[in-house]
Structures are given as structure tokens and as C-alpha cells.
């Protein structure tokens, strides 16, 4: 009985930890896509966030500073994609792929110097007094590293802004009907730039989490396709931050499930490694059914550059 208790606790705990980078990056991509821009470069942005934040934490011995740098570089690189997609009105699919390649290339190159190094300063967990004493849930929810708490705060904050404030209406209008938004005096392209930058910041933060907390070292390819799963999660979350938590933790759970299935049922680890990607495909098919039923879909003008009509 006690054994199962510990097992379930571990699964849930690891699900939260594994899901956090997914959650952060998904929140960012939700804003980007809500404004009408498709950013397929998340994988590259996460890699850049991971390597730059690792490097700066190594040098400055301050993980908070390191993650901030990861966020900064995420913003900078995402703006390249923004410029090509929004101002030059280039093909957003190709530009996003370019960003992925660029990010992977730069991080691979840069990270060579960090291979094998480990961080001396780590982000320590925060416990919320009193609440953490609650049996089972206490340690699960109220004792986590700060970025987990930040991810929860961001989820609620970003949901609130998107659905309960004028800023959110503006962002969503740019993705739903840029022409009407423009006719109401909104600078559609500027809003899109902001949202691309937000997406870049959060993807960078997610990468920083991976290299500072999740596996506190740098390994080439450590993002492992998570960036692509984030794209699928954005669809699965129906572009709603609250639902993003659900998707992120389910996927976080899958990563853990792999280990369990391997240990308990001796299933080959390689087959299990396929799990996240197969589930992604299933999730995409299910999401299609849901968007048809609930009549919620992608922002109408997602991926289309906005061109003002000539006078």
C-alpha cells in the first residue's frame, strides 16, 4: 500500500516537472498563434534557451540570471522569424523551420564547450509553509522549484489577460480577422510582433528550465523534439492557457510512464520512446474531432501574412 502511494506520488511529481517546460512553451505559442502567426521554430528556441542559460549560469553561478539570459535570447531569435513572417510576409512554415535549424545549429556549436560540465549552483525548491504539510498533496503542489510556480502563475495570468482584458481581445482579433481589426485602428503587425516575442521568451524559459533544472547539464539534442510536441499541444489546448496545463502534464506523465512500463513490464525502452510522438499524432486526430464538435478552431487567419490594401 505504501509502495503504491510512493509510486503514484512519484509519477505525479515527475509529470509536473517534465510537463513544466512543455507548459511554458505552449503558453507562449498560444499567444503567438492567437495573434495569427505560426511559429514552428520552438524546438530551436528551446535549444537556444537551454544552451545560453546553461552557459550563463555556469559563468555567473546564478541560475536566475542564466534563465533570464535564456529568455532574452529566445526573444531575440524569435524576432528574426517575426521579421521574416510579419514584415517581409514570407512563408511562415519555412521561416519556422529555419528558426529550428538555426537554433539547433547555434546551440550545438555553442554547447560544445559545456559538455560534461555540471552546475554548481542549482535552483532550490521553494516550499510554501503550512500548506506543504498537507498529506500527499502538500509536497506535490506546494513544494516545487520556482519555475513550476511561475508556470502556474503565468497560466492563470495569461488566461486572464487573453479572455478578460482588452489586450486579450486585441490579440485574438488580430488572429481572427486582421482586416476588421485594422479597420478599428489596431496595428495588427505590432501586436503580432509582441506575441511572437512573448512566444520566444517563454520557449527560451522552457529551454532554460531543461538545462538548469530538469537535467542540469548540456547535452546536444536535449530538447528531444519537445518543441514539436508543443506545437501539437497548442492545438490540443484549443488555444486556451488553462487547457494547456492538462496537455502539458499528460505529456509529462508519458515521459514517466516510459520508465514505469520499462521497469515493470520489461517493454523495450526504444518502443516506449516512441510513445510521446505516437500520442501526439493521436492527440492531433482527436483535436480535429473536437474542433469540429465544439466549433472552436485555430484562429481564422493563422499563418497568413496581413497585407494592407492599396489605396
Amino acid at each position: 500500500m505504501n509502495e503504491n502511494y510512493i509510486l503514484i506520488y512519484s509519477i505525479l511529481k515527475r509529470a509536473i516537472i517534465s510537463g513544466t517546460p512543455l507548459l511554458l512553451a505552449t503558453l507562449g505559442e498560444i499567444y503567438t498563434e492567437r495573434s495569427g502567426v505560426l511559429n514552428l521554430g520552438i524546438e530551436g528556441l528551446m535549444a537556444i534557451g537551454a544552451v545560453t542559460s546553461f552557459g550563463f549560469t555556469l559563468i555567473t553561478k546564478n541560475p536566475i540570471f542564466g534563465i533570464l539570459i535564456g529568455i532574452l535570447f529566445g526573444i531575440l531569435l524569435s524576432l528574426i522569424h517575426g521579421f521574416v513572417s510579419i514584415t517581409l510576409k514570407g512563408n511562415q512554415t519555412i521561416s519556422g523551420l529555419a528558426l529550428t535549424m538555426l537554433g539547433i545549429g547555434i546551440s550545438g556549436f555553442w554547447g560544445k564547450a559545456y559538455i560534461g560540465k555540471s552546475l554548481s549552483e542549482r535552483i532550490s525548491e521553494i516550499s510554501i509553509p503550512f500548506f506543504e504539510k498537507i498529506p500527499f498533496i502538500g509536497e506535490l503542489i506546494f513544494k516545487n522549484d520556482p519555475l513550476v510556480f511561475i508556470s502556474w502563475i503565468l497560466t492563470i495570468l495569461m488566461w486572464f489577460i487573453l479572455f478578460k482584458t482588452k489586450y486579450g481581445i486585441i490579440i485574438r482579433s488580430c488572429g481572427e480577422n486582421p482586416l476588421a481589426s485594422d479597420s478599428m485602428g489596431i496595428n495588427v503587425n505590432l501586436v503580432r510582433y509582441y506575441c511572437v516575442a512573448i512566444g520566444g521568451a517563454l520557449a527560451g524559459m522552457a529551454g532554460g528550465y531543461l538545462s538548469n533544472v530538469y537535467t542540469p547539464m548540456w547535452i546536444e539534442g536535449m530538447t528531444g523534439g519537445r518543441g514539436w510536441i508543443v506545437i501539437a499541444l497548442t492545438i490540443f489546448s484549443l488555444w486556451n492557457p488553462l487547457r494547456a496545463i492538462l496537455g502539458a502534464y499528460i505529456f509529462g506523465g508519458i515521459y514517466i510512464l516510459q520508465y514505469i512500463l520499462q521497469l515493470r513490464y520489461k517493454i523495450s525502452p526504444n518502443l516506449l520512446l516512441m510513445l510521446p510522438y505516437i500520442v501526439t499524432l493521436i492527440v492531433l486526430i482527436l483535436s480535429y474531432e473536437e474542433t469540429v464538435k465544439k466549433k472552436i478552431g485555430a484562429p481564422k487567419f493563422l499563418g497568413e501574412p496581413y497585407q494592407k490594401e492599396e489605396k
Binding site: 514552428l40 530551436g44 528574426i80 521574416v84 513572417s85 517581409l88 510576409k89 514570407g90 512563408n91 511562415q92 512554415t93 519555412i94 521561416s95 523551420l97 529555419a98 528558426l99 529550428t100 535549424m101 538555426l102 537554433g103 539547433i104 545549429g105 547555434i106 550545438g108 556549436f109 555553442w110 554547447g111 560544445k112 564547450a113 546536444e220 539534442g221 523534439g225 514539436w228 506545437i231 501539437a232 523495450s268 526504444n270 518502443l271 520512446l273 516512441m274 510522438y277 505516437i278 501526439t280 499524432l281 492531433l284 486526430i285 480535429y288
Partner: protein
Amino acid sequence: MFVIEKRKTFTKVQNFFLIIIFIVLSLIMSSLIFLLRGLNPFFVLTKILTSAFGSFYGIKETITKSIPLILCGTGLVVAFRGKFWNIGAEGQLLIGAVMATWIGLFIGKNLPSYILIPLMFVFGFLGGGVVGLIPAILKVKFNINEVITTLMLNYIIENLISYLVYGPWKGKTQYGFPYTDNLPKNALLPIIKGSRIHYPTLIIGFFVALLIYFLINKTKIGYEIKVVGENPYAARYSGIDFLKVTLVIMLISGGLAGIAGVGELAGIHKHLTYPYQISSGYGYTSIIVAWLSGLNPILVLISSLFFGGILVGGDIIQTTFGFPFATINIFNGLMLFFIAASHFFINYKIKFVKVKYE
């Protein structure tokens, strides 16, 4: 003051120069990063280019690496003409390698060469093609973005191969390494002496490029692909069947990558092993090869050669300078950014005008 003006024409010559500018800028910008690690970028660039194109050995290697690029690149030309973003060439190539192993090592190992090898290629084509049909169907039936589906399949297939080489297909003669046994002699592709060039695949690639050029420009299905890609509204006006066209596109695109996989396996590695060693990013690099050739299969032959050289450069970066092979993705990424931006440069020109003060 600069003004942005719409262009009235854009000739092939201008297109050529634009591509050259992209390449030069990308080379310069990507070599600049070496500066940050204390290396002279000019030195690095020179070393890469001379190694790839400046020595006999280098040229042989360049050609070797261009073989899978020709096949995958041509397949991607077909896909991109129809605006189907097949990012899954990497995985489709690997399925081809799996097929080659299955037929060459297991099923057909006792067949004579002249039957076995063509059989391997056919199955490689079918394997890659069938795998390619999955994202095609998902797109037409469920409107699911093909970038994600083709990518997810890449990861799934990579893990499938890992499973095979660590598990049921693990070689008995490989000292415990995650390799399959070596393919028997009758399953191996002949090679030009003194090099690694498995010329049957090269010849196939060459003819495939011509064939696909013919297909796109001189057949009905090629015409339908072009119309679907360039103007889906007109395709509807014309009554073209989207499902049929999409399936054909992916059958060809996946199938050609599969052939490339057979070549890599039976010509270079001779056994199945770590997926990344087999596919080496060819599937992703060929995306740029396809675009750089202006989606023209004949020009793919040239851009494949160029990128073969870049990939050799990647090896040099790794062996001589000690940086990961992935570094060449900086160059690839920059090239793709320029290609994405090319829409702007093709349709508009920037003019510098003197502002008159009155």
C-alpha cells in the same frame, strides 16, 4: 530615403544572382560564429571549401554525400511544388534502410545480386511511399498540419530502428554493438574503387531527376500537382481531385527518400545501426537542396553537389575543429530564412531615392 516598389518582372538571371547572394551571405554569417570561439572565420571557411571541393578525396566524398540528397531532394521538389510540406524525408529514408535490411539480410539473402538489389530498391520505394501516405491522408481527411505529422513519424521511425538494432535484429557477429549483422555480399551495392560512391544509386538518382522533371513539366499528374500547389482555387475551378494528387505526391516523395535509404544502407553502412548515423540529417538538408534548386529537379543535381560539399564541411568542422556536426545547421537555417524571405525580394525591390527639399 529608401522606397519599396513592386517589381514588374523577375528574370531567371535575377533569380540566379539572388540565390548566389543568399549563399554568400549565409556562408559569411555562419562563419562569423566561429569568431566567438576564437577562430578566424575566413580560415574556417577556406578550410571547409578546399576540403570539400579542393582535393580528389574531398570531391569523392562530396559526390557520395550528394547521392541521398539528389533522391530526397527530387522527392521534396515534387512535394513542395504541391505545397505539401514534407519534413519527413529523414524518416522515409530510414524506412528505406529498414526495407533494405529486411530484404537483403533476412528475406532475400540467398537471392542472386541481380534480383536482390533491384528488389531492395523496390521495397525501399514502397516502404518510404507507404509511410508517406499517412501524413497525406491525415491532411486531406483531418486537415492536420503535415509538418507535425511528418516530423512525428521521423521520431517514431528513429525509435523503431533503435528498437530493432538493440532488440530483435541485433547482430550476432557485431560484438554486442547495436548493429544488425552485415548484409551478405550479394546484397551490397558495387562501389567505384578508391571511393565510397555507390554508383547504382547515383545513376538511379540521375535518372530519377530527369524522370521527375519530365513528370512535372510534361505529364497530366505533374500539371495537377502544380496547379494544386500554386492556386488551390483554380484547382477547384478546374475540377482537380485533391486527394488523388496529395497521395501521389507523398508516394513519390516518400518513395524516393526510401530509395536513398536503400543506397545508404547497402552502399555505405552495410548494416543497420544508430538511426542518426544512417540518415545524418539528409532528410532535413534536402529541404534546402530542393528550395535552392528553385524546385527544379535538374537543378537539384547541382544543388545536391553543393550541399554534399557543405556536409563534408560539417565533417571537417567536427574532425578538424572539434565542433559538433550540427553546426552546419546554422548555415542551413540562415539559407532557409533567406529562402522564406525570398518572396519579398522576388516581388519587391528597394530603391534609394533622393529626397527633394523644396
